[in-house]
């Protein structure tokens, strides 16, 4: 996020797109609700689903799944045509504006309406609200609904273009604010667990950065970027990757085209999985190493607003399990000895000492240490030195790259569109009571009883055609596989679209999803794929689930 979570309350207008905030980030949603109810902020929601926030919204744009570039470009065009752009900001702080402006010609409200299914009048209302916030600025909030498309990077560029054309960057109550899905996904990226960068996004193929790390670590380092997770699966399938070490991840449920993932992991010569439970992925391993939960170790997490906070050990490790940092160190030392490398590179007295090492090598974390966090509670990076107070708002006065770059974009349809065989669109997401692949939440009895099974959401119109009602078991099939689950007939989900979560191993939505990748981010398009739904004969609604037969004459 360019702005802190608390800043959402300061916004004069909030534009929530591709985020079901109340379910996936409930405490961030609190700020949005407060901004609207207590501070009189305007709320625009763009989501194919009628999410809870849509009820609170001044304008709800129900775009078709995968049409976000058209929608966002369309809004930008209206803002330009109506003279609502922030001319001064565009002139002082951005570049490539004219080329981008020219690229918007085809995104007339009528065209956009035809592509997205959003009425023209709503486009105008949304554009005017966004460009004229009541106070402070307008804040865009998005999540995986923007990024998990084969055009995910384009979607993000479109969001940035919209923020820049209205000058909503680098000030209170404004910004481009992606909500990250996991407690420390921001931190894992910051720490260089990506194939092309060291910590703090220092490129592995940058000679200076490479030299710095080689000197600090005392080893030769590879300069060519490595493989992303989807590419690893591909390479493993092709036999180029023969061994994998997976720590605290469950790709069997979280990655698209799950059957393919399982088959590929089975083919490996050697798989070591480090986790706290015997997950679906761990079951495929040759060796399973027991790590510990967040409650049994010290360290730091970095949240979605770049805030680094201390994680403190509350319990001793359970059984013979070991804090993950100690396991990595033990393994690294064992291999270093075999290879004749310096094993003392992995001798650390505590996580605080690890933080000290990484802070020395990472400019944005330079001023962060456990001792300082004990004192000040939390710090938002960039925090380059020990006297720096941290940076709540990014790009104030100047973009980190200098000038903000407008990126012309073309609209591209989702990689897999519905057809005669697979006539419906499947989109996926989370629900409030579960988390990700359910490894943790499905072991909490209360949460499990609140949401014990998958419920595929189907619009009443489609349900009637399919002769399906709430509580029926249905088969959902795509080109990659099929799953069964109970149906929930609801108009929360639009006509032609079905919705599933990916929390349930027994109805794993990712068996169905598409692996089409965004060319730049390598993000798979799990938000859109074509499926076919049919009622499984012999199951009667209500017989065991207490559902009612709605939508049937």
């Amino acid at each position: 996020m360019t702005n802190p979570i608390g800043d959402l309350e300061e916004a004069g207008c909030l534009f929530v797109i591709g985020s079901n905030t109340t379910e996936a980030h409930p405490v961030a949603a609190i700020r949005i609700k407060r901004a609207v109810k207590e501070r009189g902020a305007k709320l625009i929601v763009a989501n194919p689903k009628r999410i809870t926030l849509a009820k609170l919204a001044d304008v709800w744009l129900r775009q078709r799944p995968g049409t976000d570039v058209a929608l966002l470009n369309g809004l930008a065009k209206i803002i330009l045509d109506e003279g609502l752009a922030d001319e001064e900001f565009i002139k002082e702080r951005t570049e490539d504006f004219d080329a981008w402006k020219a690229s918007l010609a085809e995104f007339t409200p009528e065209n956009v309406s035809r592509i997205t299914g959003v009425p023209v009048a709503d486009l105008y209302r949304a554009a005017r609200l966004y460009a004229q916030p009541k106070h402070n600025g307008s804040s865009i909030v998005y999540a995986m609904g923007i990024t998990q498309h084969h055009t995910g990077t384009d979607n993000v560029f479109a969001v940035a273009n919209l923020a820049m054309v209205t000058g909503n960057i680098g000030k209170t109550g404004a910004g481009v604010n992606p909500l990250r899905g996991q407690n420390n996904v921001q931190g894992a990226c910051d720490m260089g667990c990506l194939p092309d960068v060291f910590t703090g996004y220092q490129k592995v193929n940058n000679a200076e950065a490479g030299a710095k790390f080689q000197q600090a670590w005392g080893v030769e380092l590879p300069e060519t970027p490595g493989l992303t997770m989807p590419e690893m699966i591909g390479a493993a399938h092709a036999g180029q990757i023969r061994a994998m070490y997976i720590m605290g991840e469950n790709p069997v449920l979280s990655e698209p085209d799950a059957n393919h993932v399982v088959n590929t992991l089975k083919q490996l010569d050697f798989l070591v999985v480090q986790d706290i439970f015997l997950t679906e992925t761990a079951r495929l391993a040759n060796v399973v190493l027991p790590g510990v939960s967040f409650a049994e170790k010290d360290g730091t997490f970095t949240n979605t607003e770049r805030r680094v906070q201390l994680v403190r050990k509350a319990l001793e490790p359970i059984g013979d399990s070991m804090p993950d940092w100690q396991i990595i160190c033990a393994l690294a030392r064992a291999i270093s000895r075999k290879l004749g490398l310096a094993a003392q590179q992995f001798e650390f007295a505590s996580p605080a000492a690890i933080m000290d090492e990484l802070a020395r090598l990472t400019p944005s974390y330079g001023g962060i240490s456990h001792a300082r966090l004990e004192e000040v509670d939390s710090l938002q990076w960039p925090c380059p030195d020990a006297s720096h107070p941290g940076t709540p708002i990014l790009h104030v006065g100047k973009f980190s790259r200098g000038l903000g770059k407008f990126t012309p974009l073309k609209f591209k349809s989702p990689a897999e569109m519905p057809d005669e065989v697979y006539p419906l669109v499947l989109t996926t997401g989370r629900k409030l009571y579960h988390y990700h692949t359910g490894t943790m939440t499905r072991r909490v009895a209360g949460l499990e009883s609140l949401a014990p099974e998958e419920r595929v959401e189907i619009n009443p119109v489609d349900a009637e055609e399919l002769d399906v009602c709430s509580g029926d078991f249905v088969k959902i099939a795509s080109r990659r596989g099929e799953v069964t689950a109970r149906a929930a007939v609801t108009d929360r989900t639009p006509i032609g679209v079905v919705f599933m979560t990916f929390h349930y191993a027994e109805s794993a939505a990712n068996i169905l999803t598409n692996t089409a990748l965004d060319p730049m981010s390598k993000m798979p398009e799990v938000k859109v794929c074509a499926v076919r739904v049919e009622r499984i004969a012999g199951t009667l609604a209500g017989a065991s689930a207490g559902g009612s037969r709605i939508g049937l004459s």
Partner: protein, 368 residues
């Protein structure tokens, strides 16, 4: 925002214009008893405990709703204030199960003691989970209430046990509406409100159905705010022996919270009011989703697959085997780190992949 100065009894306290009398008093470290006021909720003036006298103003005023003005002279404990406040407490207690409240033996009674003064089994403080942490008990002690002049008129006991994590005991509710206000003002859910009138008044859901059938999201913030034992966690395991401040392990918001520990188990969670991201709020997962930590399924020892079956192994054997296999496959290796693990662990993981395994094939689930 101008500075203002108020005088409480003989003490001068500085505040900002826009604050209430209660806020100024609290900022100066003065105690005014309250049951309904919460720093982050709107002034409500419901419990009438914060009554004070203010010079040049008529009658008694509730400090929580009275805007502070420069030069105010506030009397906190005149005989008049004390008398009326005691009467207010008496009225609140009159329909609260409080047989122990004024009993001189109370400090000596352990939980589940049979009471020799009580000829029937009645709901008493010693069997209430909030005994000892109850704010009403503290207030009764503060105002020095020694006897009750009003007959206890208990409301019929009807527990709402429909929620999976906590129950509501209307009999113990003092109608301070902190739960109603936190649900609406802070969490933005508005699942409950004050219903009915007079002595039938109670906290209800829409159409007065059970909580589980309402739009309640089970975040438990009502429970966290309840000053008495009216909303209590199910399977209460006593008071924590210690609290450890840490960060929620679920989504990316990064809510700061305290894990409450007893006998090396997590028995509860308390949102951190000073938490920059959450200011004390939590969702259902953050408040109640930590059972997995002590779950019986937890892996407690390394496992090695032999002939298709996992066999328990010791650390030395497991690490040696992994090391040997990874050395064999150096050059054909890829590693997936974890968005659930700490920064320090992620740093080590990529250092291991790059520095030891000699590959940039390192990633994590940032895309899912």
């Amino acid at each position: 925002m101008g500075k203002i100065t108020l005088k409480f009894n003989d003490k001068e306290v500085q505040g900002e214009s826009g604050m209430t009398v209660l806020e100024v008093a609290r900022s100066g470290g003065l105690y005014i008893p309250t049951l309904c006021a919460e720093p982050d909720l709107k002034p409500y003036g419901g419990c009438r405990l914060c009554l004070v006298e203010i010079e040049k103003m008529r009658g008694l005023l509730t400090a929580c709703t009275t805007p502070a003005r420069d030069g105010m002279i506030v009397k906190l404990d005149t005989p008049y204030v004390q008398r009326i406040r005691r009467q207010v407490v008496e009225l609140i207690v009159s329909d609260h199960p409080s047989d122990c409240l004024m009993c001189p033996r109370d400090p000596h009674c352990p939980r589940f003691n049979v009471c020799l003064r009580d000829d029937v089994v009645s709901p008493r403080c010693v069997v209430c989970p909030r005994n000892g942490t109850c704010e009403l008990q503290q207030i009764v002690e503060f105002v020095g209430l020694k006897e009750m002049r009003y007959r206890l008129a208990h409301r019929e006991t009807d527990l709402d046990t429909s929620n999976h994590f906590f129950y509501r005991d209307h009999d113990k509710c003092i109608l301070c509406t902190r739960c109603v206000r936190v649900c609406e003002e802070v969490q933005g859910v508005a699942a409950i409100d004050l219903g009915y009138r007079g002595r039938h008044a109670r906290i209800v859901t829409a159409l007065d159905g059970p909580l589980a059938g309402s739009n309640c999201e089970s975040c438990g913030q009502c429970m966290a705010r309840c000053p008495v034992g009216a909303i209590v966690v199910k399977n209460y395991r006593g008071e924590p022996q210690r609290e450890v401040k840490t960060v929620c392990p679920y989504c990316g918001v990064g809510c700061s919270l305290y894990l409450q520990i007893k006998d090396e188990k997590i028995i509860g969670v308390r949102g951190d009011r000073a938490g920059a991201a959450n200011r004390g709020s939590l969702c259902v997962k953050g408040q109640f989703g930590h059972e997995f930590v002590n779950h019986a399924d937890r892996l407690t020892t390394p496992l090695i697959k032999k002939n298709g079956e996992f066999v328990e192994a010791d650390w030395h054997e497991a690490i040696e085997l992994v090391a040997t296999k990874l050395v064999e496959n150096r050059g054909k290796f890829a590693g997936l780190s974890s968005a659930k693990c700490t920064n320090e662990e992620n740093y080590l993981f990529q250092k291991f992949a790059r520095g030891v395994m000699g590959t940039n094939n390192v990633d994590h689930c940032a895309r899912t």
